[in-house]
Amino acid sequence: MDDLKEELKRQLIEQLNLEEITPADIDDDTLLFSDKGLGLDSIDALELIVLLEKYHGIQVTKPEEGKEVFRSVNSMAEYILKRKG
């Protein structure tokens, strides 16, 4: 689980071009879409759907599903494990 989270942080940075951020800057429970967290926007959310398919083979067909899933690295990791479970 921890490996998956670290992997996700690296993938987030790469997929979203978060060049001024390192994995160490992202906590497992950092809110991805809050301005107090990473401050991602609606296009980033769609790019995270691409990330899930590209790196984890998981298809999200409705962007609304992403809302809960993409809350934090924790919630993303849980979702991936559940879908792969």
Partner: protein, 214 residues
Amino acid sequence: MKFITAYAHLKENICAVNGEMICRRDKDSGDSWFKQIYKQQEFVYPKFHKMDVLSQAGFLTSKLIKRANPQFAEKYKDDEIAMLFANQSGSAETDQKFVHAYRNGAPSPSLFVYTLPNIVMGEIAILNKWYGESLFAVLPEFDPEFYINHCHILLSAGSEAVLCSWLEIAGNQIDVFTFLIEKEGENRSEFTADNLSKIAFAGNLHKTEINANY
């Protein structure tokens, strides 16, 4: 009367403001050329890294023009600064990246949103909270008359200043010339086709010179 009150050139290897070189490309750097300028000028705008090359070029040159003319943004209301941009190949550079992405994987939403040439004006509007007029045209080449005619139209219809840009980026070729037109400008060049050509061309001379030195 109208005046060219500030301008910036961004070429393959140099970046200059009002004719003065402020940054020269470090070929050994691991950073992209535009990122080198961003870092060297100590700009802080994390969104910069998500932008395509056209938007990055527009961001950098408009920021540099503002820095050279610090009072300019405060002089006008939020809808009095118009944008008049043009180039030769639209968003072709990013279009090709998008095609590459969907042929080799999946269509990328963050690339797709930059596959329109006018997005750079949107980015500059967001950055500055400008709500003014904007126009993006595709021309066969840089044409001073185009800017003269459309600035005349904009400045006689409510706009007080026009941020103009020619921004053509194709692969390694970079030809970006951004300039500001205002109704008043002490000791600045009058906005005529001749003066505009001269200033635009000065950037090219600069380029040749720099290239010769390599």
